[in-house]
């Protein structure tokens, strides 16, 4: 697109209140092109609000935000051309089939050959066999994969993933992580929000912690680890161990991920 050198996302002094509640109180951060940036925070920290402002769904009260070089308030249409949003709840049409969902988004992005785009993405996300089935029969992981696949149509340079693994089981989580890594590998900038420490640890090039409406730290994992007290680090390291046990017991390594359904 237009600005090659500028950061993919620039946020300065972003503020947003819902009546008396000050959700964002001056948020600043930049996200470099082609990197994965994690916005870490507990529930109610303002992560979703920040993502909604960046994806033009909400207007900020104060501050500046640019995505792909475009101002989110003044150039909302250009921003929408540059992004895609995967919200907290899988934004898929339950009544349509997986393939129809993909075709729908391809048409709305005014692309040629929506059918081919859909088939390619189904294959890339191991959903080809399930492509003709109604999404309401999909498992949580399949639904999320379809959701992310829908976000990639048209190759937007910036992708927002709002808590992409909340409510997913460990296998499905690993599937989503693989998808996110692949995305960044292709040069897409990813901003993801999460409340899981290990998710940020696994995926992100940089991590910012959003707390009570402000970014309290922003750095690489190594930088952050030096800040955290040892007890915290221990907790982070314990989580994957239990997960390893779980995954070893149920024998899943993300290979047979097309089998599960919610039936």
């Amino acid at each position: 697109m237009t600005t090659q050198q500028a950061p993919a996302i620039q946020v300065q002094g972003l503020e947003k209140s819902y009546k008396e509640l000050r959700v964002l109180r001056g948020v600043d951060f930049d996200v470099a092109r082609g990197s994965i940036f994690a916005l870490l925070g507990s529930n109610g920290a303002g992560k979703t609000t920040a993502v909604k402002i960046l994806s033009t769904l909400l207007k900020a009260d104060a501050g500046m935000a640019r995505v792909n070089g475009f101002d989110v308030a003044a150039q909302a249409a250009d921003v929408r051309e540059s992004i895609s949003l995967t919200g907290q709840f899988a934004a898929v049409d339950e009544i349509l089939s997986g393939r129809e969902n993909l075709v729908l988004v391809a048409r709305l992005r005014h692309l040629k050959n929506p059918g081919k785009i859909a088939d390619d993405l189904l294959e890339r996300f191991s959903l080809t066999d399930a492509g003709a089935r109604k999404v309401s029969t999909y498992s949580g992981g399949m639904r999320r994969r379809l959701d992310i696949a829908m976000s990639l149509i048209g190759n937007p340079p910036v992708v927002f993933l709002d808590e992409p693994t909340t409510g997913l089981d460990p296998q499905a989580r690993i599937e989503v992580w693989q998808a996110v890594r692949e995305l960044a590998g292709r040069g897409t900038t990813v901003l993801l929000t999460t409340q899981y420490l290990d998710e940020a640890e696994q995926l992100a090039d940089r991590i910012a912690i959003l707390h009570e409406g402000r970014i309290i730290v922003n750095g690489t994992l190594a930088e952050l680890k030096q800040l955290l007290p040892p007890a915290k680090v221990e907790y982070v390291e314990k989580q994957p161990t239990l997960e390893d046990v779980f995954l070893a017991l149920v024998g899943a390594d993300g290979k047979n991920r097309n089998a599960g359904t919610n039936a």
Partner: protein
Amino acid sequence: MSKHFFGDTAVLLGRSLRHITRSMDTIVTTAIMPIAMMLMFVYVFGGAINTGSVSYVNYLLPGILLITVASGIAYTAFRLFMDMKGGIFERFQSMPIARSSVLWAHVLTSLVANLISLVVVVLVALLMGFRSGAGVLAWLSVAGILILFTLALTWIAVIPGLTAKSVDGASAFSYPLIFLPFLSSAFVPTDTMPGPLRVFAEHQPVTSIVNALRNLFSQQPVGTDIWIALAWCVGILIVAYVFAMNTYRRKIS
């Protein structure tokens, strides 16, 4: 307005029409309630209601058609609410599409779904002995009034669809609309109603619409009723549209 408005609306319309064709039960339930009412009124109460020389099913059908629309638009609110609640509404709004297409697709889907229900109800009425000598022009006028009425009520339905907090809230608004024909000339002539009720019945929109439809079906002169009916439909349509669009703008800004 975006250059993609018509294309985007068509794509989204295709999507919600699939919702309808894949859950035909919503159309059937929409039609069943008015059909049950029609059966009950024609075969149970009809014998005791004096409508002069007009057969009761002929007398009743216009009101039943309005009830069909009033109950059908509850599903419009429901479908819109489900889109809002799931993430798909936000996905559409964060995409480079004409933003009002999302609403228009729902409105046009409502129109199609209600027209199907209306055809089903008319077919049942024909089986029950409804007859009309109306010509093509009269039928077209009937269709035109019903389309305007459906659009007016649909834009009303958009408002709770956008603002409701629960599924029940999204469709509860239609109950008073379903009830309104009872306080009109739809089921019984207004002459026997007591004073204030009669005044209300004779001046509320349903009566003029019902009378206009009835006159068109029975090839009577439509008189001023049709103009009052059209004025009501267009008036409600404009007011509801303005409110719905304002609500929508507040939701997406």
